[in-house]
Amino acid sequence: MAEPFPTPASVMKRSGVAALEERLFSFFDNRRRRYSAYAILILVSLAIPAVGDNYVLEILANSFFYIVLCLGLNVVVGYAGLLDLGYAAFFAVGAYTTGILTSHYGWNFWLTIPAAVAFSILAGVIIGGPTLRLRSDYLAIVTLGFGEITRIVARNLKDITGGASGLIGINRPSLFGLELYQIHHYYYAFFVMVILAVFVSYRLQHSRLGRAWQYVREDEDAAEAMGIDRVAIKLYAYITGAVFAGVAGCFFAAKMTAISPETFQFMQSATILMAVVMGGMGKIPGMVLGALALVLFPEVFREIGSMRMLVFGLVLVLLMIFRPQGMWPERKN
């Protein structure tokens, strides 16, 4: 919808990047073009293992894994507007569920997934139940605390989690008699996970529940006045995010065959959150971009050695100054 009286500011904003974005959006407004673009993306992704070497596949599988985590955290941070600084805790719950059940009790990998989902939901309720009554800043601090508690519990429950040295010898999953051990197996497994996560995110976003998250994010009191139970709705977002991370954690454990508490440090939570903010909160393509940038940047700039994190930080700062909405553009209406 064009503004009837364009203000100077909005005229200026139309130039350059913004104009390009607008043209991109209008180009992809056509449903057939959009679906063709998706199809090309999927076909290219499926074809990469035929041409790429193990290094490329490893990096891309890692990116896929972070895409799923970002999409999960996006439900919490992007859709519901809750600042969560302890997201790695849920990822840990999934990874440890698979690790413990396969190595101690000999469970089949695929059976550990529903178990991980159940434990993620439980963890979401335990952590979210008392904390989601709090608002913004307080919530961030408490989630930070819970994230650390989860990691420290994993380090100290020696008999179950293997303590600081972690769990080793996690069974490789097999699918129709094929054991998943090569990198391209995991490339495809993670790719399927990404497709599922995108699908679920999209459906949730465009539903009664997704709208309720957005109402609560925009104005908690008004949402409450419209008959929305804000605590329950936030808990729903928290649990959904937990399930994404839990399932991703299962596959992480299977791929690495070893996990230790140090994987789930605060830096992990912060990194995922950074990718979400960088990509553009609340936007699914933004999550894909954010996760790709997060994994690819340090790899591409490997040559400049230890300087690369400094450069990465600088890029981030500049991005936040000139593009606070994230890399993926906001749709204008």
Binding site: R203, R211, Y215
Partner: protein, 255 residues
């Protein structure tokens, strides 16, 4: 029969008594106005009724059931909707999405329904959209349904709020200064709309308003409060001639 019954409602913020032993009744199908000078506690009364403030003592009965200890969303679900004094729209969402929020408490699809899009969920979404469109049409801004709420002129934003409140399918509608910031024409249309809400939708209306002309033209009963206490109650003529009301608004004449 009264749809809303308030008995001895008292609300304190620390040592300050904002509402003291206030009792009032709103008849089903009626149109009652709550007036009073600035700071008299009118909006606090509304916040108590809708569960945003927890009153210290007294009781509020809605349709015969006590709602004193209920959370705001439960009260809305029971059929009491409100608008805010300062607009509280979901600014970055479309007009339609804003109004759809009202149907949230009348529907139930969860995460599984959203992911699977089963027939029940699809039927429910269609129903939400139908009711939202109906409400938008009722307040006369259906043509703006796909615009972002923040891009609408002020008068139309007000109407989005009314449509949103109507979409919760209330029995009682609380309007907090509905005419604030509206021009003469818009006020006339507001009065027409309020009458239609009563007549066509059968909704009881309880409103706070500063525009005395508007209050006197549409109210069946007027309740006046000052310093959290009720100082007068009755029809428009009674109120206009009540010495206590005149004193509260204009001050006392020096002897």
């Amino acid at each position: 029969m009264s749809i809303l019954q308030v008995r001895d409602l008292t609300l304190r913020f620390g040592g300050l008594e904002v509402i003291s032993r206030l009792s009032l009744e709103v008849d089903a199908g009626g149109l009652v106005s709550l007036i009073g000078p600035n700071g008299a506690g009118k909006t606090s009364v509304f916040n108590c009724l809708t569960g945003f403030y927890r009153a210290n003592s007294g009781d509020i009965a809605f349709n015969g059931a006590s709602i004193l200890k209920l959370k705001p969303h439960r009260i809305t679900r029971m059929g009491m909707a409100r608008t805010f004094q300062n607009l509280r729209l979901f600014k970055n969402m479309t007009v339609l999405e804003n109004v759809m929020s009202g149907m949230h408490c009348r529907t139930r699809a969860g995460a599984l329904g959203a992911i699977l899009r089963n027939p029940a969920q699809r039927a429910e979404e269609a129903e939400i959209q139908r009711v939202a469109d109906e409400c938008l049409d009722f307040v006369g801004i259906l043509e703006h349904r796909d615009r972002l709420a923040k891009n609408l002129p002020y008068g139309d934003q007000r109407r989005v709020e009314w449509a949103r409140a109507l979409a919760t399918r209330p029995k009682l509608l609380l309007l907090d200064e509905p005419a604030a910031g509206l021009n003469y024409d818009e006020k006339e249309r507001l009065m027409g709309l309020i009458r239609r809400i009563r007549r066509e939708l059968n909704i009881t209306i309880f409103l706070i308003e500063h525009d005395m002309g508007l209050v006197m033209r549409i109210s069946e009963k007027v309740i006046v409060i000052d310093y959290g206490k009720k100082i007068a109650e009755g029809d428009c003529t009674t109120i206009q001639n009540d010495p206590k009301v005149i004193e509260a608004y204009l001050g006392k004449e020096e002897e």
